[in-house]
């Protein structure tokens, strides 16, 4: 299992995902710098969260034009697995690797809290395979622009192609006014897959739920399963 983490100026969850991947794979992932034009073949590349280039212009817009993106696209066309978390998801959309857009949260506020995700029925994908359908994962979000928005035609297409990986879902027995969908995403979408199922973009941060003291280990469970599936 060879993994790499693509780092841009302003990435800030790179260390966190490296810690998580190391915990799962027992190997230190390769650090890739945004100016890298060449790197060895990898099984998985993760684009971590943060504020690449300060989120200036638009979240992910400048990072999507970095030299490394060409190589990441090559990695995807070779069938490599690619995971974009939070700002990583925004970059994948800006780079045209995943469709749709991520706009300001509905309440116009940065939102940091735990969410519950429900795994959807999808095409064959290392990111969802082996999870029981409808299984719930508790994973936190922390973002300002995580409101997944797409025209109805695209939403229908994603749904019919089995490319919606997870949705935010209401926890049972919760007596509260708080909306279970933290950002107003269309159809409660929290993560989507590429056509071949090998690319996942997600707003929640699995690397922040890898320790019982974090209040949960569902992130670790998720990453472990993904790695198992990618290794095959």
């Amino acid at each position: 299992m060879r993994s790499g983490v693509a780092i841009f100026p302003g990435s800030n969850c790179d260390r966190d995902i490296i810690v998580a991947l190391k915990k799962v794979t027992k190997k230190i992932p390769l650090k890739l710098w945004h100016k890298d034009k060449e790197f060895p073949n990898l099984d998985l590349i993760v684009i971590p969260g943060g504020f690449s280039f300060g989120d200036y212009l638009r979240c992910g817009a400048l990072a999507a034009r970095s030299p490394i993106i060409e190589n990441i696209k090559n990695h995807v066309s070779r069938g490599g697995a690619l995971l974009g978390i939070c700002n990583g998801f925004q970059i994948l959309i800006e780079a045209g690797i995943l469709p749709g857009s991520l706009i300001r949260n509905k309440n116009l506020l940065f939102t940091c809290r735990e969410t519950t995700l429900e795994i959807q029925k999808t095409i064959k994908s290392p990111f969802t395979e082996g999870f029981e359908l409808g299984c719930h994962l508790k994973i936190p979000v922390a973002h300002n622009e995580g409101n997944y928005f797409a025209p109805k035609s695209l939403l229908d297409q994603l749904s019919s192609e089995g490319r919606i990986a997870f949705k935010y879902i209401e926890e049972k027995d919760v007596n509260s006014d708080i909306d279970y969908n933290p950002n107003g995403s269309c159809d409660d979408i929290a993560g989507i897959l590429s056509k071949n199922g090998r690319v996942l973009g997600m707003m929640p941060h699995p690397e922040r739920a890898i320790n019982s003291l974090h209040g949960g280990t569902d992130g670790l469970k998720f990453l472990t399963k993904c790695i198992e599936n990618i290794v095959g």
Binding site: N12, D16, L213
Partner: protein
């Protein structure tokens, strides 16, 4: 010489102008007094030009010179075996074992945040982070103590929402978790909000970087963002009272760029991993002026800077503007000669400016050139060592009035009072605020806002196969109404509450950073608040062995002559050796709750200066609850002892609102209930009985509620150690807090109010 000046005039006529002799009128415009101007002329043996005068004005500002408070700050206890660096550096440093050090400081950005809430608070966060990583530490946590005026005022909503956005805007982007803090509302802050930001970092004990310049001829390096015209004379602005025209001071507020801040953080830490850096200082208040002067002064050396080499954002900037700009995200460093190229490569990688702008000298003078002409040539010692220090007259006013319960008529029930308390945004949940802060980035946050009395952040990498690692506990505290009523007791209380909070999270209190926010020190009653609270802080900090290692003073928090409540904020850091033992406030079903520090005989609670008293009386009155340092230390020690033996499952210190609201807070999270025991003498009292109310809502100090599954063991230890305690009852799943024969309180109903009060005000 004349030809040269003519050329200067042609090249940059503004520079020519600032190099002309100044006068008293200009000095007064810059916030100096006549005596200070005369002192300057005498010390430098000439009439300063405008640039030189600007440098003096910034260094002599209250913000930089601490001229009103210095005499008293010197009396704070700052020593202990675990202190590596006390006050006087960019931040304080303490030993936390394993060859590691905790580096921390709190700093105010009050004036700028009122004028421009987003940028003011954002740059407050940026500035305090730079203070910490300048010392070689990677920041691991941020906290904020923020205070606003009446919640009903539209301006308060505007300021609160801007400040919260600004704090989040910087902290979230740079990727340091904001894990705690406090928010209060009081009408005294209507015209002067307080924004105090605290940052904590971790460094290797043997790789701490200091600011004293070393070695004549060593190169002086400027790194980071370019210098612009923003924030000029910010330190002076922050050292004056506000008037109606203060919003015209918006140009004196700096603009933050957390993205550049993040690059600067990574580049500096990368460079510090080499052996190139000899000393380093962040350019905070008074920018290049205070950084160059302080570095030279601490090293008893001089400095020469060629200001033409300073990277600037705009053309034709003058020496005056360059020296007084408070543009953010900049650092001044002294490098080992010959390492410039290696250092430049690191800054190039991070796309940051890097410029050799001068050298260390043995002249003891600050010499600056601009457009090839000498813009400044002044001795350094009068700027710092000989800076004015005032012994201002003071009067410590203490409200010693005892509030006699029998003279109060109460028409509300316990239920009604609880509702009123939790509707008050001072007691309500601050979730609306903290959800806007990224609390979990960096992956080491164990407990943050609302979960525990103090935030707990794991020391990265301290977890091993057989242990979950160790952590730092961090809190900020102050109860300004107590300080107002009695500055000495209030100062002690702030320290004790902070220590209780640290202990209630399971950690051992270690050291303090303080942020002293007051009104105009030229008024003797305000000076009395400063002196009194420093006395109180000193006695409590000395007694609890939690020395003050860093801090900041913010004075002149007044608008049109009305001062704020005295607000000496205590930021405290503690250590928990095994984070498995960290304690939340949330009780679990089956736990027994007991109060440490209170016995069966305790009947009449202290309602002077309490929230309860404000509710029944419409204002705070009377002496604040007295502090007994022996009791405080005893309950902290016993709590840590019980927790070490793994006998506790939750803890919560009794603070604002008294016992009952604090019990409710322990039940909220898991929607639990409790049959509350009362002392025998209070059984069968009515729901409007003031004595019973005082027991429920009195704010007597030195008490902590703990939850345990091992009541007998805990009892026997407490009895053996002669610690007073009172058993409140066993937690059940009923979601009702039942006060036998008096009333029943629905925890779900109260929780709803608690959780939604602030968000409904803000929406």
């Amino acid at each position: 010489m004349k030809v040269l000046k003519k050329k200067l005039y042609e090249d940059n006529k503004y520079e020519y102008m600032v190099q002309q002799e100044s006068n008293l009128e200009t000095a007064i415009e810059m916030g100096l007094t006549q005596e200070e101007f005369n002192f300057i002329c005498k010390k430098i043996k000439k009439t300063p030009n405008k640039t030189e005068l600007g440098i003096f004005s910034a260094m002599f500002s209250e913000h930089c010179s601490y001229k009103s408070s210095k005499k008293w700050l010197k009396t704070l206890p700052t020593q202990a075996p675990h202190v590596i660096q006390g006050p006087g550096e960019n931040a304080g440093v303490i030993d936390i074992g394993d060859n590691l050090a905790a580096v921390f400081k709190i700093e105010s950005h009050n004036h700028p945040s009122f004028i421009e809430p987003y940028q003011g608070s954002a740059t407050g966060v940026g500035g305090i982070l730079r203070d910490v990583f300048t010392m070689g530490a990677r920041p691991i946590a941020l906290l904020n103590a923020i205070r606003f005026g009446s919640p009903s005022k539209p301006l308060t909503k505007h300021l609160l929402s801007g400040v919260v956005k600004g704090i989040g805007g910087y902290g979230n982007c740079i990727g340091i978790p904001t894990v705690g803090g406090e928010t209060n509302f009081d009408k005294s802050y209507d015209g002067n909000i307080l924004v105090n930001a605290m940052a904590v970092g971790i460094a290797n004990k043997d790789k701490i970087f200091y600011s004293a310049a070393t070695g004549a001829n060593n190169p002086v390096i400027y790194v980071g963002a370019k210098t612009g015209r923003d924030g000029i004379h910010g330190a002076t602005m922050a050292s004056a009272e506000f008037t109606e025209s203060s919003s015209e001071k918006r140009p004196t507020v700096q603009v933050g760029d957390p993205f550049t801040g993040k690059l600067l953080l990574e580049a500096c830490l990368e460079l510090m991993n080499t052996d190139a850096v000899l000393s380093i200082q962040d350019m905070g208040a008074a920018g290049l002026t205070s950084s160059s002067v302080e570095m030279a002064s601490k090293g008893s050396l001089g400095m020469f800077l060629d200001l033409d080499l300073v990277p600037t954002r705009e053309e034709q900037m003058t020496s005056y503007e360059i020296m007084l700009s408070e543009s953010q995200e900049r650092m001044l460093m002294i490098l080992k000669p010959g390492s410039e190229e290696k250092a430049k490569q690191i800054f190039d990688k991070w796309d940051l400016d890097f410029a050799v702008i001068g050298k260390v000298t043995e002249t003891g003078r600050l010499i600056l050139t601009k457009n090839g002409s000498e813009a400044c040539n002044i001795p350094i010692s009068p700027l710092v060592e000989n800076a004015p220090e005032y012994d201002r007259p003071y009067e410590i006013i203490k409200n010693e009035k005892f509030i006699d319960l029998n003279k109060n008529i109460v028409n509300q029930t316990i239920n009604e009072i609880l509702v009123q308390m939790f509707r008050n945004p001072n007691l309500a949940s601050k979730k609306w605020i903290w959800e806007q802060y990224d609390c979990s980035v960096m992956g080491d946050t164990i407990l943050s806002s609302g979960q525990s009395d103090a935030a707990i952040v794991r020391i990265h990498g301290s977890d091993k196969d057989d242990s979950l690692g160790k952590g730092l506990a961090i809190t900020t505290d102050c109860t300004p109404r107590y300080v107002k009523a009695n500055p000495i007791e209030g100062g002690m209380q702030a320290v004790c509450e902070a220590a209780r909070n640290i202990a209630s999270s399971g950690a051992k209190p270690l050291a303090i950073t303080n942020n002293l926010n007051f009104g105009n020190p030229e008024k003797k009653e305000i000076m009395g608040e400063i002196v009194g609270s420093i006395k109180g802080i000193s006695s409590a900090a000395a007694f609890l062995n939690t020395p003050i290692v860093s801090g900041n003073v913010s004075l002149y928090n007044e608008t049109n002559g009305n001062g704020i409540l005295p607000t000496p904020v205590i930021g405290m850091v503690g250590i928990i050796e095994n984070i498995e033992n960290s304690l939340e406030i949330n009780a679990k079903e089956g736990n027994t709750l007991l109060v440490l520090g209170q016995s069966e005989d305790f009947i009449e609670g202290w309602i002077g200066s309490s929230i309860y008293q404000e509710i029944i009386h419409d204002e705070f009155d009377g002496a604040p609850p007295p502090i007994n340092l022996q009791n405080e230390k005893a309950i902290i020690d016993i709590l840590l002892n019980l927790n070490e033996q793994k006998l506790l499952s939750a803890a919560h210190d009794i603070s604002d609102g008294g016992l009952l609201p604090n019990v409710c807070e322990m039940l909220f999270r898991n929607n639990l209930g409790l049959d509350l025991n009362l002392p025998k003498k209070l059984v069968n009292k009515s729901n409007k009985d003031i004595l019973l109310h005082s027991w429920c809502f009195g704010e007597d100090q030195g008490r902590i509620i703990v939850a345990t599954n091992e009541l007998n063991k805990v009892k026997s230890i407490l009895e053996k150690q002669e610690i007073k305690f009172f058993v409140l009852g066993t937690v059940n799943s009923s979601s009702n807090l039942n006060i036998k024969s008096v009333t029943t309180i629905s925890i779900n109903d109260i929780k709803y109010i608690y959780e939604n009060s602030l968000s409904s005000i803000m929406s």
